[in-house]
Subunit: 295 residues, 2 copies
């Protein structure tokens, strides 16, 4: 199958599973609606695609990886909801639509985020019970927990919040923040798929290396898109002009150097996949796509 | 050993383990400080005590239960931090000290809460790996996840938030909200200890019944304390007078009827422990203590 077909298949599996998880009648209606609003808000499902592609590359069971893929999307969504809050980034819009707290109020947005994070773990633990014969399953969930947690995504958010408007610390702080804020969960996504597929140690190393590099590529291209003024970039900063005070690759190294770094990082990411030969086609094409992306 | 000695022992074990977890140098300093501020803010460690007592009652391994006990305290603490935020209960004080967001700012308080919830799961998953030979361990973690999540504590918070200042719905809504907001995680605490100790089905049923009743008792006595104006009650409502608009046992049934309900609930809770005979001494005394508590 082609890159386009594989991607569509991953996204459809994810969408349909997320839909089911978010129809749970035991969850209070307004909380569920607030959670579902942001989960169904047009995301690219990048993290689930990474998990499913990594699992399939190693001939693993996609059905087993799907709960973890959905959990990753819920965790990603919770981080966006909390990040958009007035006390954090104070964004009124997300992907061109009012952010969660603009629709449901700040209190419910906090709870929708808390709920999605909790639900993600509930879903993974339930799946762990069903796949208890799979020796890599716990490692997959641990990878997600580590990527999302206080040494991963939350750490990155905290350092980012602390240093808002502060351009000191330079390249080192930029790398620290982004490796955690966005990189850790992206790396966890590919690792979790590999663990569920029963990856051997050298495969885990290779896919982990790819995850780190791909996460870096994603961040650099995100910074480039923010200044090149795509629609997505405009949506993110609508009504504000604060990006000049942010520590980004573009602000630190300039646009051209950032583009060069992106190209080099994409090459290294693809090189890390070499041992998987032709089975790495999807992740290689995704890397190229990310390098060229316009949103 | 006596009730007092057992309680002190449980609290010391918990305090020392929490101390270690909150010295992790991989967690960014300010995030860690904000998390530790609220965890070390004079809580009674009720939930950890329930887990450890339940486990010890069934002759389980306390060392195995300790990570789950600590995780429960972290989850409880995260819920207090988020609950105190201006968008939620807007409490400037917690246990007589400035609440988390008054000290660290709202953004960091949100992240400290997110961090504690994430870290709780990381800690439990790490322990699950170490105690993989214990067939009840996963069930224990699932009980915690369920109690904390979108059908448990977060559900209770959401319904509570939605219906603020609304006294309609009466006893049914009051029971629904409180069974989830405070009861679910208390029940999860005793159940998790029992699962780790390898409880048989009828023991799980009995301890679950105790957990539900004890949680109810805790809530009723909390409502009574709020109007009887203890120090703790004052700390919680300092600078505000909003409790008259809250759906509480006292507002709904009156003070005397609430006290009668508390006594009856305590009796039922102790009756549920009958099958454990003298080994239930700690939980029975805790129940009496909770009925008579002044804070």
């Amino acid at each position: 199958m082609s890159y386009r077909e594989d991607g569509a298949r991953y996204r459809e599996m994810t969408a349909s599973a997320l839909e089911k998880y978010l129809q749970n009648p035991q969850i209070p209606q307004r909380l569920l609606t607030a959670m579902a609003y942001s989960v169904h808000n047009g995301g690219k499902r990048l993290r689930p695609c990474l998990t499913l592609a990594s699992c399939e590359m190693l001939e693993g069971d996609l059905a087993a990886a799907l709960p973890v893929a959905c959990a990753l999307e819920m965790i990603h969504t919770y981080s966006l909801i909390h990040d958009d809050l007035p006390a954090m980034d104070n964004d009124d819009f997300r992907r061109g639509k009012p952010s969660n707290h603009k629709v449901y109020g700040e209190g419910m947005a906090i709870l929708a985020g808390d709920g999605l994070l909790s639900y993600a773990f509930e879903i993974m633990l339930e799946a762990l019970g069903r796949y208890s014969g799979n020796p890599g399953y716990l490692k997959a969930i641990q990878a997600v927990a580590g990527g999302a947690g206080v040494c991963g995504m939350v750490a990155g958010q905290a350092v980012d919040l602390e240093s808002e408007g502060d351009l000191s610390g330079g390249a080192e702080r930029l790398r620290y923040t982004h490796a955690r804020k966005t990189g850790a969960i992206i790396k966890a996504a590919v690792l979790s798929g590999a663990y569920i597929a029963g990856a051997r140690a050298e495969q885990v190393d290779a896919i982990g290396e790819f995850g780190s590099l791909y996460g870096l590529l994603f961040q650099i291209t995100d910074d480039i898109l923010d200044v090149e003024g795509s629609f997505a970039g405009m949506g993110k900063t609508l009504g504000k002009d604060k990006d000049a005070n942010k520590l980004t690759y573009v602000n630190l190294f300039g646009l051209e150097a950032s583009k060069t770094m992106a190209r080099e990082t994409a090459e290294k990411a693809k090189a890390a996949l070499k041992i998987f030969q032709s089975r790495a086609a999807f992740l290689e094409e995704l890397t190229d796509y990310t390098l060229e992306r316009k949103h």
